[in-house]
């Protein structure tokens, strides 16, 4: 049979596409072909997400060192792969991944995601096999001060949103006179459409633990918490396994790798409020209170969990730390731009061909991300804008497609890095509607503590609703801008301070669309229902009566051998007739 490794993607995307059945089928098919159980166990591996979820289930067959990747694998396809390829040595060509799979990966620089798609996340030996926990050993051989200096020199900035320098955060915390300190891993990941932290937790949980232990050592903490949303059961399960394995392997607990350093990690499950990702709300939630932010300063590094100095770091930030320790600050800072070092994972979604998780060096031009990696919007489609930074980020119009993606450039254009969401929009997206969509999310997720966010965002939303509902008034745009600016400067936490961003940035770049809604009574993208008029085309109607039967509002008049007619007064603009008509007679 030769030297064989089979890797099945078992991230959440893979699992949803049926990867556990595929994995089981591989084992049973191999056994039925007479391969010994021990060998089967060794050569069939599960891995975490490798980013290209649109093609799941992805399976690698590595035969005598040559890797072949299959896409869209189902249990039925397994027997042929085993027979022809694993045993017979001839890959099944028609199921192989296409050129876009390679294009997708070519321009990426995978540091964090690399191991995610290759090692078994439930096996500490697999992690150790690729150099895992070497960073920790290195760190423990240095003083906490030296560790902090190394991370400072690397230029690593927080991946949770604000981009604060990680080494500096650790230094500020360790300067506090209080000797009891904590480190918290923020795995709340609440941005809709963002799943990079999830991929790392599910695909390589040990890297997060290792980063946390190093961080804990750097600030001389002895206790750490991972705050992870309860909606991530697989991540929680794999973290629990990883913690247990790390404890058995003496990487956690008392006297870690005989260094005399003690550190323990516990998991806290969050109930899924977006605002609990904000560090002070997260701390309140761990303390057993309602997850509501409090004003900063004082910052958590001075007064955090149970009023003790506390470092809160994002999953991605922490998972990067072991690599910095093993490969050195100089290596890390050679990637990226002057002020934004290293790589960042983005969740590429929306109207784009290759959706999935990508990891690229900071500073990569947006064009390369959208066209080279993402494959563009597809044929006959025109890119309109890219929304970055999640629901409280901003949009980058197509005209700025050559801008570099880093903390500063995104901030300058009125957006932000956020957790790394990237939603691609083409010309069928209405920007007013889009702003309304994001605001409806943030207004619902406002914790209600402070007035500008709680009531202000509601009022912003209502004006947007008015505009998209065809009832916009002269002066609405200025009203939105003034209110949005006031909410930004007076809100308590990051949620309120950034929630108006989508409104401000769409007005900045697509003011004409707002004006078209308000003054001309049209939605240029033909999205907003209020501006739609459904009418039956006299020339195209075949008098079949399908629309008449479909209309839930009985707004269509029709009789046999008569053309249909839509009563605008009764029509609720649901669009059922439009979808139903096979002759495209409804305009």
């Amino acid at each position: 049979m030769g030297d064989i490794t089979i890797r099945v993607c078992m991230g959440t995307g893979g699992l949803a596409a049926g990867s556990s059945e595929v994995l089981r089928e591989f084992s049973s098919r191999l056994s039925s072909r007479g391969v010994r159980a021990g060998v089967v166990k060794k050569c069939v591996n599960k891995t975490g997400c490798r980013g290209f979820c649109a093609k799941d289930v992805l399976v690698d067959v590595i035969r005598n060192g040559i890797r072949t990747t299959y896409q869209f694998i189902t249990p039925e396809k397994v027997s042929r792969i085993v027979d022809d390829h694993v045993i017979g040595g001839a890959p099944v060509d028609e199921w192989l991944v296409g050129p876009e799979y390679h294009a997708f990966h070519e321009k990426q620089t995978k540091i964090l995601l690399k191991q995610c798609g290759e090692i078994d996340p439930e096996d500490i030996d697999a992690y150790i096999g690729v150099g895992g926990y070497e960073g920790l050993k290195k760190a423990l051989s240095l003083s906490p001060f030296e560790v902090r200096e190394e991370v400072k020199a690397s230029g690593l900035r927080g991946r949770g949103g604000a981009g604060f320098h990680t080494g500096l955060k650790w230094e500020l915390c360790s300067m506090s006179p209080d000797k009891v300190r904590y480190i918290i891993c923020n795995a709340d990941e609440g941005d809709p459409g963002a799943f990079m932290d999830r991929a790392v937790l599910e695909g390589n949980p040990h890297s997060v633990l290792e980063g946390m232990i190093i961080g804990g050592y750097a600030i001389r903490a002895h206790e750490g918490f991972i705050y992870v949303r309860a909606e991530y059961p697989l991540a929680i399960q794999r973290l629990e396994i990883a913690i247990e394995q790390a404890e058995r392997g003496a990487f956690l607990g008392k006297d870690i790798v005989r260094s005399g350093y003690d550190f323990a990690i516990s998991i806290k499950k969050g109930a899924g409020a977006f605002v609990c990702g904000e560090e002070t709300a997260l701390i309140a939630s761990i303390e057993g209170k309602r997850g509501m932010p409090r004003s900063k300063p004082p910052f958590p590094v001075n007064r955090g969990l149970w009023n003790r100095p506390t470092v809160v770091n994002n999953v991605e930030t922490l998972a990067t730390v072991p690599q910095i320790m093993t490969r050195g600050a100089a290596w890390f800072s050679s990637i990226g731009t002057d002020k934004s070092k290293g790589t960042k994972i983005f969740a590429l979604t929306g109207k784009i061909k290759n959706t999935g998780l990508i990891e690229v060096p900071l500073g990569m031009p947006l064009r390369e991300i959208v066209y080279d990696i993402g494959g563009g919007c597809g044929r006959n489609r025109k890119l309109k804008a890219v929304q970055t930074g999640g629901p409280s980020g901003g949009c980058i119009p197509a005209s700025h497609i050559d801008m570099p993606v880093d903390y500063e450039s995104l901030g300058d254009i009125g957006s932000m890095m956020g957790s790394g969401g990237m939603v691609v929009m083409e010309d069928t997206t209405c920007m007013v509607d889009m702003a309304k969509f994001f605001l409806s999310f943030t207004r619902n997720e406002s914790c209600g503590k402070c007035l500008p966010c709680r009531v202000g965002n509601m009022r912003l939303y209502e004006v947007l609703e008015r505009i998209t509902g065809g009832k916009g008034r002269a002066g609405d745009i200025d009203f939105l801008v003034d209110l949005a600016e006031d909410i930004k400067i007076s809100s308590l936490c990051g949620l309120g301070q950034t929630a108006p961003n989508p409104v401000l940035s769409t007005i900045r770049f697509f003011r004409d669309e707002y004006e078209a809604h308000i003054h001309e009574g049209i939605c240029p993208a033909r999205v907003c229902k209020a501006f739609r008029r459904y009418v039956v085309s006299d020339t195209l109607c075949t008098m079949c009566g399908k629309c008449f039967r479909e209309c839930p509002s009985r707004a269509i008049a029709w009789e046999k051998k008569q053309k249909a007619f839509i009563d605008v007064k009764k029509c609720t603009k649901c669009g059922m007739c439009y979808d139903a008509c096979q002759f495209r007679a409804i305009l």
Partner: protein, 354 residues
């Protein structure tokens, strides 16, 4: 402690304050006014209403004066065009979700929101939009809750958990619909509420009012009589709110030296006895199986006669007096003096040991 002093500048004027002070405390100490709404001296600073927002040099956002600690060299501006604009904005947003029916509101005349609306000259009408339309909650025998008038300052929640430590109410809901309520929005009842009315005492608007006093008079019709609570030895200071010779309500005296505005159920709501028809108004002497009304002279003569009898037969040490903590200090002093000089006994004590 000299090293704990910090120098900051408020509106360009150098000010000395203590380490750990908030900007608000520092400003108040030197008489610089900063408007607040969610602040109550009895509570931890909160920073929710944002009215106390001030400018701090080198910070691009506004910071709340109540929660922001002072730092050496800090330069604070408490009034500027931006600050006023924001404060107007905030009050107006508050009013945009408010019934604005001061005409028949229990709180009119001493309502913080009403004052703010007047001060900033706004009415919230530029917004339109959704307003809460929630029913009045009358389940509690002492407290009426009109959620529509709530400005979500959180003071009731905080006093209930920080001072009373009952935790009866907390935030319920999210976003625009967040409001103070009991767990699962159950009625405030004996099973979950202390009935101390502390929440009422801190509520800046007419959202929480004393049920027994509702409709019995506006603040300007009321004479406020400062007195000491007669229930226990703590001696809380309170105001009897008197209208036409009748006590219609008890309110907090925030400068009360022992209680600083806090009261318990008895002090705040236990005033029915004052005008009770069943109140004993003359001495009663037990004769046979019942009590019979008597004059003070008759009663005191009887007591004096019996004391004399006991002392004559068993000596001075056989008598004494035990005073009530519901008496005033003056009364207690007089009783002690009486026992020592008239009875010539040292057997005197008081129940105020709580």
């Amino acid at each position: 402690m000299a090293q704990r002093k910090i120098k900051i500048k408020i509106n360009g004027v150098e000010t000395v304050c203590e380490k750990g002070d908030s900007i608000l405390t520092a400003a108040q100490r030197v008489g610089v006014p900063i408007p607040t709404l969610c602040h109550d001296d009895r509570l931890e600073p909160y920073g929710g209403c944002r009215l106390c927002s001030v400018e701090v040099k080198h910070i691009h956002r506004l910071l709340p004066a109540c929660t922001t600690p002072v730092k050496p060299g800090m330069e604070v501006i408490t009034e500027s065009a931006t600050i006023t604009r924001i404060r107007k904005r905030l009050v107006s947003l508050m009013l945009s979700n408010h019934p604005n029916d001061c005409m028949h509101c229990e709180k009119a005349g001493e309502c913080r929101l009403q004052d703010l609306a007047y001060e900033f000259g706004v009415d919230g009408s530029e917004y339109g939009g959704e307003r809460w339309d929630l029913p009045i909650r009358e389940a509690n025998p002492f407290i009426t809750y009109e959620p529509n008038k709530c400005v979500t300052c959180g003071r009731c929640i905080r006093i209930c958990s920080e001072v009373v430590m009952a935790g009866t109410i907390d935030w319920v809901g999210k976003g625009f619909y967040t409001l103070p309520d009991t767990a699962f929005r159950r009625p405030r009842s004996l099973s979950n509420c202390e009935f101390c009315g502390q929440c009422v005492s801190t509520c800046p608007t007419g959202a929480l009012t004393d049920k027994k006093g509702r409709g019995k008079g506006r603040v300007n019709e009321m004479q406020r009589v400062r007195t000491t609570c007669g229930y226990c030895g703590t001696g809380c200071t309170l105001y009897l709110n008197v209208k036409g010779g009748t006590v219609v309500k008890v309110t907090s005296a925030f400068d009360g030296p022992v209680n600083q505005g806090n009261l318990c159920i008895k002090g705040r709501y236990g005033y029915d006895f004052i005008h009770s028809a069943e109140r004993i108004r003359a001495p009663l002497i037990r004769k046979g199986d019942g009590f019979h009304e008597a004059t003070w002279d008759e009663a005191l003569d009887l007591v004096a006669k019996n004391f004399r009898k006991v002392i004559k037969k068993h000596g001075n040490k056989s008598v004494g007096a035990f005073s009530s903590s519901r008496c005033t200090n003056e009364e207690n002093f007089l009783l002690a003096k009486f026992v020592r000089t008239v009875f010539r006994s040292n057997n005197v004590d008081n129940c105020a040991r709580v």
